[in-house]
Symmetry: C2
């Protein structure tokens, strides 16, 4: 079982790598090779057979070189985030569209080869006007270049799967929360930072109203989605290989209430409300909630509530330790 992960140096890529190494198997077979690729060389864990490669996938030669090794399963995570794709048109199309096209094209040029491809798409393929709860047959109408590039990738992966060149699936990940580490260029960053910073005893800025509703899954759930997608019988999906995924439907007020239940009022007191019309405007066009019936029927599982998302962060990132609690929040 040879596995290729693109975007392996990113947050989800690193967690997926760790999860695969911890399991040691995929699809019931031992993992005998792990190729990690990103624009900067990822770190291959000690004692794991494989390679860590710095490469630009939008260069067809780089994609061809990776695919010549004929990996059995490909996790295609490489992307630049929405804020950067909007700020730099040509970089966004190069990485998010041409990266995917080059990889797909390289796969079609190998003879008698049909790898499992798990592609991280996004709920950004949907844009306003949207119903309060988005059904599985909602048309994709992106309002960002990032969402456009992901929707184009979904179409190509469905087509090449129908034609037997790959066995592909596109996962429309919920907004990842709590994203560990430093904020990135995503406009959605505050959804994580209003929980992450107070849990670490630090101030956070909330730029939107408390009534703002959105769709979340933890990094742990995201890795679970990817592994489940790699092992699922995809013939069940039929022609449409793109799936909206389960998540937690929560308002900012729900996030804050869960934070207070877990870390007390001293934590929520660290959230400073600084309305930002630009961010509020971007967020207003985003999906609020989904009814991902297809994905649920296929066994994809997210957290049941925001409390569970916060506890997963405390376990996975903080060693079970909340700074704020020790400061006497209870």
């Amino acid at each position: 079982m040879h596995i290729l992960i693109t975007g392996a140096a990113g947050m989800i890529g690193r967690k997926l790598t760790d999860a695969l190494v911890a399991r040691g198997t995929l699809q019931g077979q031992p993992i005998t090779g792990l190729t990690l690729v990103d624009i900067v060389a990822p770190v291959l864990p000690d004692g794991v057979p494989g390679a860590a490669i710095a490469a630009d996938l939008s260069d067809p030669a780089a994609a061809n070189a990776l695919i010549e090794a004929r990996p059995d399963v490909i996790f295609h995570l490489a992307a630049i985030v929405s804020g950067e794709a909007e700020a730099d048109l040509h970089k966004g199309y190069a990485v998010n569209l041409h990266g995917t096209i080059s990889l797909c094209d390289a796969i079609t040029r190998e003879e008698d080869y049909c790898p499992r491809l798990v592609f991280t798409s996004s709920i950004a393929v949907f844009g306003a006007p949207l119903p309060e709860v988005i059904p599985d047959d909602q048309p994709t109408l992106p309002l960002t270049s990032y969402g456009t590039q992901k929707a184009m990738g979904e179409l190509m992966i469905s087509d090449l799967s129908r034609r037997g060149f790959m066995d592909g699936i596109s996962l429309r990940l919920p907004t990842i929360c709590i994203r560990p580490g430093k904020p990135n260029a995503a406009a959605s960053g505050f959804y994580s930072s209003i929980l992450r910073e107070p849990l670490a005893g630090q101030e956070a800025v909330l730029p939107v109203p408390d009534t703002t509703r959105h769709w979340f899954a933890s990094p742990r759930a995201a890795v679970g989605f990817l592994l489940h997608a790699a092992e699922l019988d995809l013939a069940q999906l039929g022609q449409d290989r793109a799936l909206s995924l389960p998540g937690v439907n929560a308002t900012v007020a729900d996030e804050i209430a869960a934070l207070e239940r877990i870390a007390g009022p001293a934590a929520t007191a660290l959230i400073r409300r600084e309305p930002d019309e630009t961010i509020a405007g971007i967020v207003a066009g985003w999906p609020e909630a989904f009814d991902p019936a297809r994905a649920r029927a296929l066994g994809f599982k997210a957290e049941p509530d925001m409390d569970t998302i916060i506890r997963a962060h405390i376990e996975d990132e903080l060693g079970g330790h909340i700074t704020i609690k020790e400061r006497g929040a209870d």
Copy 2:
């Protein structure tokens, strides 16, 4: 007013060229240059200022060279048909996807440039399961590589229009009927040939049941759609720059009844029923009818019925002359 037409050597491209030359103006301005491009050099009508160029648009250098001249209006018709895109995967993606991407990319690299782009998409962006009448918010779920490539182009054109790099529109043309000349590689060819051949006194083969229903517009209506799209205020479309168009909703039986009304029973007697399960299977996944409310509200007009489509063919292709009638059909 400088106009660029890609795919100008094709049937619609030639008719559009003739219509533009006959009008002499577009958007109220005199046409001062007409650049015609196709994989084989198109024919520039006598006395018209412009150029006829043989070029492969999937080569970015070719696209850049065409766009450097900064045409005001671009009709992007270049494509290979569904049958060929299915038979030759790489040629289909090269012409139908990379041709469109190269053109779009070249446009974004010109400074202070925002041309009108009219892109011929197709009802093949929709695939089964479909409702009997397809609404404007039907999700695009293509069942062919051709439909996939067109749907991907639609997404990119909507995004680049939102960002101000072009003022684009994608027209999902109905199946063109009666297509003049020889049959092409399209599986839809019989819809035209069961009318075209009998009108010329020749036999035609019908491979599907008479109850098969589909969505049609004449070549004359298609040219009308393109010209209307070139002159319309596209800000009215909002973010979604792809439009399903009006057409004639008719069964094969409706086609045959209209043929009999116009050319008599001797014409319909020339239709030979030879069921073909492969073609019937392909056609079964296609749209049957649309409710193109947005396009109607924007003033797009198709023929009212199949009789009018047949009469347009007799006027435009046969000089008003029906062979079969002279043979005593009435």
